[in-house]
Amino acid sequence: MAPTVHIGAAAGFAGDRTDAGGPVAEALARCDGPRFLIYETLAERTLALSQLERRGDPARGYNPRLEQFVGPVLARCLAANVRIVGNFGAANPRGAAERILALALAQGLAPRVAVVEGDDLRGVLTPRQLAARETDGAVLAGASEIIAANAYLGAGPIAQALDRGADVVVTGRVADSALALGPLVHALRWRADDWDRLAAGTLAGHLLECGAQVTGGYFADPPHKFVPGMAGIGYPIAEVEAAGAIVITKPPGTGGRVDRFTVTEQILYEIHDPAAYLAPDVVLDLTAVEVLELGSDRVRVTGARGKPAPPTLKATVCIDGGLLGEAEISYAGPNAAARARLAAETVAERMRIRAPGLKLRIDAIGLASVLGDDAGAFARRSNASSEDVRLRFAAQSADRAAVERLLDEVEALYCAGPAGGAGVRRHITPRLASASCLIEREFVQPTVTVFGSEA
């Protein structure tokens, strides 16, 4: 009988808790059968930021927290044969592999580290060819310089790296769910056209890929939804059977909760048509999925169905997006909202003269700052009141002088604005514009290279 495969998740995004992997690695080390620890650290624009970092220093461009993520668990994982798979290679998987090998050497360890490449499309397709493949928009029209263009690879190269004995697999852009499906294809020998099993593995990956979001993170809403021990929330472990049934749980003794509510919210996270969730290896149909609470933070998930993989692969392409300028100022105490409103009108009026054409957004933090819209319709309708309002002004442009003008106008409120304006902060950050493209598979040729000691 095929063994149950255990896959733990140690990170759900680049900025995730770096100490989350410890309890997961420890729990995995105590299990039998094939075991894997995965790291998902590449949101849509993270790779482009890494590409910019690599321009500054060719040795970098992988996840800047790589050492903090992997260092504390590497020895325990290698000793217990828990194999690590992460997309923390970002824009420089080879650089990440070298760093991991150096980290291992310093600890007296000698792992086999595999690098998955072939996601980078910049040398493969021109900006014009990428623009022709853009879906839902025209961000790339006329773009001359691409910062990052990466196809989402599937499970195949990850499974191949594990087949070749890798203790650690470093990737750049892969489908988040492939971080789990790759190990499952390797351990359970699932065929490339076994759509229902590939769908189950994709669902397991989907449930793991955001880390704590399935174990009580992004969930608590007291007094309606309680999560115990949030400061020490346990990151998830999926137990996947050869037939595709999944149990989601978390390490013993950790905080958080795993029940049908935490799992159901995550099943539908970032899903559009639940009958057709597109992944590189399969189209996942969630409409027959059922969740069953087994008690003590264990939930069984069954019913994933698969349809043949889509003919194309998705790619995310990033180009320069100009500059975002933001400035804030506070008004507090009696009549704060009226003074904030006057300040907003004052800046808006001056900007109409000083930088006409620059689109401005103004939020009143404490009254309405995130649920609203750029035009302020929601805020005008809101009857919220507050005696502590922080006004926030934002504008975006390729023209730095125009953006600076907005920040200057906000700062000038100190002396020339309403009474009691306080605590101006201002900053300008570079932006990226991103587009989704569909790429014919012949343009994407994944490769696997294994470094380190030979088995």
Binding site: D273, V370, G372, D373, A377
Partner: protein, 107 residues
């Protein structure tokens, strides 16, 4: 039987997610018995009205009766999304609570 008016957050859970300029919100009944009432009242049209200021170009509701859940997909509702929005919440992570503030009638 008497009907009472409640806010959705009293009887249901919700979670926002994004892809580019597209928002999805999963709405999950805490008590599966509420599913039919929510199916009648929390329509795509009702959600489009609640999010009218975001000017979604399309709102679709997908029903998942086996999960006692609905998935709402709002196209072009994120003011450009995480890379283009001037707002603080380009991901739309807070927007599940705009949905949860809707009143519904249940037994």
């Amino acid at each position: 039987m008497t009907l009472r008016t409640v806010k959705l957050f009293e009887i249901a859970n919700a979670r926002s997610g994004d892809k580019g300029n597209r928002l999805n919100i999963a709405l999950v009944c805490r008590d599966p018995a509420h599913y039919p009432a929510l199916a009648r009242q929390v329509t795509a049209e009702a959600v489009a009205a609640a999010f009218a200021h975001r000017k979604p170009s399309r709102v679709v509701r997908y029903d998942l009766p086996r999960l006692s859940a609905f998935n709402f997909v709002l196209d072009d509702a994120l003011e450009g999304g995480v890379n283009a929005s001037l707002g603080l919440d380009g991901h739309g992570k807070s927007l599940s609570f705009l949905l949860l503030d809707l009143p519904v009638q249940v037994e």
